[in-house]
């Protein structure tokens, strides 16, 4: 007997056919008779074939997968939410939002550290919330359980944890305007617009906005990260010279930035594209020394061996 939850017997034949099972002559006749009268089953037979043709199972994976993996790896550095549950999916422009949140949290600390703000931090303006803590909490929790971000060099993890609850530093490239109140601070807005532009594939616009961000607000966490994001886009666009320059600018902000490892990899790749073998070799060595356990270290060592054996 057919239960309430069951599909009709003919529909199960459709399923078996979709799975590639050989049907007997009688089953085949039953199925053919059914699909002549059942629009839905006939439609599903066709549609399944349509989808399989559009994206074949043995299709070559898209070439950008490696880049997407690297970008995702940037993003999974957010700290685990204590006792937080891991959802099955994240929403919104999550990867870049998470990357931005992580960058802002850790990069903000690094910027503050470099600027000496730890030793002479100005009090937060009245009414200005501790937005870093808010951002950390608001970051999609799909990253819960991901590794703790590495604290900046020379700083103990406890201090890094403390820093997340501190107000983020004001950009020190120029004085904030009156209009730059708690809401809609321009460097955050620029960062958001750049991210949206990148997500929409408007690469030139994204490059312009990241450039503007880095130029006008170089001391803000977003501005610092802007150099690395801009460099990555430039590298993807084949502009290795600009990429190397901007990775250098990011790295010149001091070691310990949350994107340092990726920036070192990007810089080495850019130098490779430029054919600057000696500099490339030095860049890979620096990466291996700074991050010996990195996922990129194996690749770096392989490339170093290649460079060493080449004439």
């Amino acid at each position: 007997m057919t239960g309430v939850a069951d599909l009709h017997p003919e529909e199960l034949l459709v399923e078996r056919e979709l799975q590639g099972e050989a049907l007997g002559a009688r089953e085949r006749r039953t199925l053919d008779e059914h699909v002549r009268t059942c629009h839905a089953c006939r439609f599903i037979r066709h549609a399944a074939a349509d989808f399989a043709r559009e994206v074949p199972a043995d299709a070559t994976p898209p070439p950008q997968l490696d880049r997407l993996i690297q970008t995702a790896l940037w993003s999974v550095r957010a700290p685990a939410a204590p006792g937080g549950r891991r959802p099955a999916a994240v929403h919104g422009r999550a990867p870049w939002v998470v990357a931005a949140a992580v960058t802002i949290c850790v990069g903000g600390f690094a910027a503050a550290h470099l600027a000496g703000l730890f030793h002479r931090r100005a009090p937060a303006p009245a009414g200005r919330p501790a937005v870093v803590a808010v951002k950390t909490a608001a970051a999609p929790t799909a990253t819960a359980g991901a590794p703790e971000p590495r604290p900046p060099v020379g700083q103990d993890p406890a201090a890094a944890t403390r820093s997340r609850a501190e107000p983020d530093p004001l950009p020190r490239g120029r004085a904030p305007k009156k209009s730059e109140g708690a809401a809609g601070r321009p460097w955050e807005d620029l960062f958001r617009r750049a991210t949206v532009a990148r997500a929409r594939g408007q690469i030139q616009e994204a490059l312009r906005l990241y450039g503007e961000l880095a130029r006008d607000y170089p001391r803000s966490p977003e501005g610092t990260a802007g150099f690395a994001f801009k460099a990555r886009l430039e590298l993807d666009q084949g502009d290795a010279r600009a990429a190397a320059r901007d990775f250098d600018r990011y790295l010149a902000r001091g070691s310990g930035g949350s994107l340092e490892e990726e920036a070192l990899v990007g810089r080495a790749e850019a130098l490779r594209s430029l054919g600057q073998r000696a500099q490339e070799q030095a860049a890979w060595k620096l990466l291996v020394n700074r991050f010996p356990g990195s996922a990129h270290a194996r690749r770096a060592r392989a490339r170093l061996a290649e460079l060493a054996s080449a004439p």
Binding site: L18, F43, I44, A48, L68, L73, V76, H91, A295
Partner: protein
């Protein structure tokens, strides 16, 4: 041979090596995370492209979102199936969520963008009727309750059997069948609403 023969089995438990890898990754081992992502990336890309459309402008974003969600969900991976199967389900879920969100935010803009995208990138191999059928299924995914939408996507797009759908969604087989039956009922209604397209959809002859 099944047209889906090359995909990773969902109803076969994962090798112990994958379980170990997932455990290491869930503890934050970046090398393990990288290896896992490389392992599942092709399946994720395929699932996302199925649900969104191969040339949809959000494909890359949703793949990235899936990678992040996959890493976040590794703590719940029990090795019931190949990690790629586990990741595929997350990809389908993420892609359907993306479709719904985008639709609710800017359906008209998206339609225009999609139209322009199609015009810029026509696929000469694809007859119009196949495109319309795919469009209809994708639009249905936006309208169905989430569980039914995922069931339909896993079954029709990724070619999962009902047993595989049930295992992937961690529900009884009868529940999966019930969801598919309801989805097909909605599909029938949708086809009937598109009477004008019947000939184009090739479902009447």
């Amino acid at each position: 041979m099944s047209r889906f023969a090359n995909r990773h089995p969902v109803d076969v438990p994962a090798d112990a090596v994958f379980v170990d890898l997932a455990n290491a990754a869930s503890r934050g081992d970046r090398d393990a995370i990288t290896r896992l992502l490389r392992l599942v990336a092709p399946a994720v890309a395929r699932s996302v492209r199925m649900v969104l459309g191969a040339k949809h402008p959000d494909v890359d974003d949703v793949i990235q979102q899936t990678f992040i969600a996959f890493v976040g969900a590794l703590g719940t991976f029990r090795g019931d199936c190949h990690p790629a199967g586990f990741a595929s389900r997350i990809a389908v879920h993420t892609a359907i969520s993306n479709r719904r969100r985008t639709k609710s935010q800017s359906a008209r803009v998206e339609a225009l963008v999609a139209l322009q995208w199609t015009e810029r990138h026509p696929d000469p191999r694809e007859p119009d009727v196949a495109s319309r059928r795919r469009r209809l299924v994708r639009e249905l995914l936006d309208q169905l309750p989430e569980d039914q939408a995922e069931t339909l996507a896993l079954h029709v797009m990724l070619g999962y059997s009902m047993d595989e759908v049930a295992r992937s969604m961690r529900c009884p087989v009868n529940t999966a069948k019930s969801r598919l039956r309801l989805a097909k009922t909605a599909l029938r209604r949708r086809i009937e609403q598109e009477l004008l397209f019947f000939d184009d959809l090739d479902v009447c002859s």
